[in-house]
Symmetry: C2
Subunit: 112 residues, 2 copies
């Protein structure tokens, strides 16, 4: 499995986005494609998914890039919280402690 990497033109075609848009998103830190030795961008499946999410938040929800950035940070925290919900995956006391810390982080990101 040669875990599928796409050049910017192919990625843009798959996502129906403009290559310049992808470059700008990287410049803003919204996505971080790897590079060839000649410094050409390589987009993985995960980054395509991330870009699809960004596209949805921008086009459908009308959220600007500063807002998208904040929402992506929040999403990361929520993703860390999910596995803490699995019974017997984590000791209860430890899970509670971690959950509390992640919630504090969320509040910071939300300004509350």
């Amino acid at each position: 499995m040669d875990d599928d990497l796409y050049l910017i033109s192919m990625a843009a075609r798959l996502l129906d986005m403009h290559p310049q848009t992808l470059r700008k998103y990287e410049r803003l830190g919204l996505v971080r494609p790897s590079r060839t030795v000649g410094s050409m961008r390589l987009y993985s499946r995960d980054e395509l998914d991330r870009l699809r999410l960004i596209k949805h938040l921008v086009d459908e929800a009308g959220i600007n890039l500063a807002g998208v950035q904040r929402l992506l940070s929040i999403a990361e925290v929520v993703q860390r919280i999910r596995p803490l919900m699995d019974e017997e995956a984590v000791p209860r006391a430890e899970a509670r402690r971690r959950l509390s810390r992640e919630l504090d982080r969320l509040c910071d990101m939300l300004g509350i």
Copy 2:
């Protein structure tokens, strides 16, 4: 206690915002001041706090109003999650169930 209500000019002065900005925020559903019988806006302390948060997200973080709206919705969910953390406030199984539901809601709001 005559729980402090302010007309728009006073609210704007306290927040250092333009009255027209407050009117526009209401038109977009970001805040919902009560009204006098003559339809003049009345801002409570809670709404002033909400406006302060909005102002911070817009001015400091550069997030647009669509993004602010989404973040405020997320903040509401997080506020509902917090009390579920108090030991012995809620039966454990029930707390877990509610927490799981709120997390699902968060994922919807984040598009994940």
